[in-house]
Symmetry: C2
Subunit: 500 residues, 2 copies
Amino acid sequence: MDDDILIIDDDEQVHDSAIQSWKVLIVDDESEVHRITKVTLSQFRFDGKSITFLHAYSASEARDILKQETDIALVLLDVVMETDDAGLQVVRYIREQLGNQSVRIVLRTGQPGQAPEDDVVESYDINDYKDKTELTSQKLRTLIRASLRSYRDICSLQRNKRGLEKVIQASKGIFEKTALDTFVEGALEQLTALLELEDTTIYNIKHAYELKNTELEMLHSTASDKTETDDLQQHPILQLAIKDKTNIYQESEVVIYCKNPRHNLIFHIEGTQQLSEVDTHLLNLFTENIVVALENIRLNEVIEDNQKEIMYRLGEVVESRSKESGSHVKRVANYTALLARLNGMDNEQVETLKQASPLHDIGKVGIPDAVLNKPAKLDAGEWTIMQTHAKLGYDMLYDSDIPLLQTGAAIAMYHHEKWDGTGYPNGLRGEDIPIEGRLTALADVFDALGSRRCYKEPWGIDSIMELINSESGKHFDPKLVQILNENLDLFLEIKQKYVD
Amino acid sequence: MDDDILIIDDDEQVHDSAIQSWKVLIVDDESEVHRITKVTLSQFRFDGKSITFLHAYSASEARDILKQETDIALVLLDVVMETDDAGLQVVRYIREQLGNQSVRIVLRTGQPGQAPEDDVVESYDINDYKDKTELTSQKLRTLIRASLRSYRDICSLQRNKRGLEKVIQASKGIFEKTALDTFVEGALEQLTALLELEDTTIYNIKHAYELKNTELEMLHSTASDKTETDDLQQHPILQLAIKDKTNIYQESEVVIYCKNPRHNLIFHIEGTQQLSEVDTHLLNLFTENIVVALENIRLNEVIEDNQKEIMYRLGEVVESRSKESGSHVKRVANYTALLARLNGMDNEQVETLKQASPLHDIGKVGIPDAVLNKPAKLDAGEWTIMQTHAKLGYDMLYDSDIPLLQTGAAIAMYHHEKWDGTGYPNGLRGEDIPIEGRLTALADVFDALGSRRCYKEPWGIDSIMELINSESGKHFDPKLVQILNENLDLFLEIKQKYVD
Ligand SMILES: [Fe+2]
Ligand SMILES: [Fe+2]
């Protein structure tokens, strides 16, 4: 027997060698048939691969093997075994029970009378019908070759179909994302699914980068070691993708390149198998969809940016009457958002607060110049008028249906309440003051103390913190004051970034 | 010869009958082989369909037929004809030149010596190899049946694959849309492509409806007759889809149902063929994508709505200082948009103008109370101050990157210029005044005259038009005044809709 042929009846080994050979199952109750078939095909190769034989000596054994081994290419199937139609029952089992449409089935019968050819071929989903007597070694080789060719073509079509279904699934997955970060994570996930890496996640590493100018910024990574990822950015395959603005498919890694006027994303997946032409076609299809989805995200971002800017302008227009500095609303917005985030609020809440915060003094539009811009201390009557700006702002916004303006209304109303109940307009106390008000109160005062006003010079940070700490539990929510103390450097970064 | 069998050598007829039969091409230089094959298979049926034979008596004839007829299921192919390997050349032609991988090819040779079986089966992509002598009528029937079965399975996989590719293409097409109207048109187009109706567009009618409360509103239709479409809305299949909230696939029509919290879309396509299970699976897949795309559109609309409302609020906050009525900015926005549309501007320009128009008096924030709200006529100095609101507004907005605020800046700057050059701040004349200014000027005055102000009662429409017409070519762009005159009813509808 030739060394090329693997005659393996041991399950373990079969599994290992399966990748490099065609599985052919011989089902026959005569062991001589098994032997002759193997000998005849000892030199046989198709598409550069040899045959691995599996052996069943009864219909029941055949069923067990077929259930286990889902990648059998061909079954050479005797008809009469335990019963006169045992083989025919196996055909039904394969096509109907197992739903296996791809395996090729050839009936080989020694007693044609038991299974009239026309009836059998018509009623059973088989691919050929042979008298054992007519199967010369020449005819057997032709039969095997034609069957394996057919199996290969059907498998390739099926793989392709499954791949396309995955692309559809994957695309749906990414089109459901509307923010860049979840989109990037989703795209990596779907790429992994497309590359069928689910089972080997231990061995592969996925990264997503955004190219900013010439720098690669890591957006997401499954690598455990951070220093390791720093080196990877210099990886030649990434540089190649960037240079050629295209996907790169190499032996064990894949780079997907997607660009639009705002984003330049690069996905890098290592530890893949060698990709077929079909695989790369599917990845190209999916890449086109990533690009469309990324464009949708860009459009969303543009609209969001517009909204943010409009809100700032709205705040600034109002502030312009009190001759306050242009960057006051931006700083207060950023302080408020930072406090909210450190206080454990979720991204959406933080973003809404940040965008709504410029509206805190919108009610000042209704305060007369004489009060608003009086260079001296306000008298009691003027002070009463001034205080109405909180409720006035609320009245301008509360009837809106949109959450952003409702939050704006709350901020306007409550940003002058104090923790100890001595604030206005309602004299609320402690946690009765909505969080929007407590956050903005601290952010607003922190900024006002540090800024130049017509009546005062900007304070130094030590004096500011001394006052704020002394007002903890009086003017301000003590928990928020603590957050400010513990993260002062982050707040000072904002102050630095938005100088007047 | 049996009546069931169609022996047709005429091209026209072949085409008509093709749908109901399997095409088998016999290629042989002996006419006796043709005759015997036909006689043997005279009663043959597979999957309820008979065989239509095509006949070629040389390799060259075979090539011509194969090029014409792309849906041949099986070729029974002689080897030795014009040349010793004429048949083998036909195999290459089919697989390589025509790229036809689905047709089954069986070599039938009378001179096996000319084409050694192992070599031929290995080197040529054929599906079986027979000596003419071994082909008994029984064996021929088995061969044909197995071949047709294989052809049917491969075609079904290929159709499925093409269908999935179309779903991917179609989905990309709809995800590229960001507005409801283009989305609806695109979805209908892609549905048509999926249903392969391109060739029969004359016979089918497509409609898209939006369900509002219980009323179907037609969004798009390819029907030529408008009254015809009115009846269709009562069509039971539409009512069924609405009731069951699901797609309906019937013999010759398809209803696709898609719903999200804002939109309830129904696509109705008539004149389809009976759909297979595969087709309905693909349509279901595509429907899922339509739903995702529709959700993206809804999110866009929400953001757009927010932006519109924020812009109105911004305008209203400013107006609140001059104690003007709340609906003034909405009316001016709508008048401006209507004038722009009637003046031939595109949708995007109209929308931008509409949203930016509330900012026309934003500069008034910088005008002191004493001037802005003076109950008497302004003196010369006060008037000069008042006029600065145009430039002040421009200064607040011009440095923004976003088109909406840039348009706002232009509107603020130019809405008090006059056609004859007597306006402010720059005394521009005629078409030197940017269109944003000319449009808003007319809309603003048209509204102001019709509204109650602290110093005047609202005018009647006749007096308003008398004044505006007398100012045509003086204060106002005469072309815009003409548009206003010709479409006065549309403007009065807006006045009615946004009463104070
Ligand atoms: Fe305030
Ligand atoms: Fe004005």
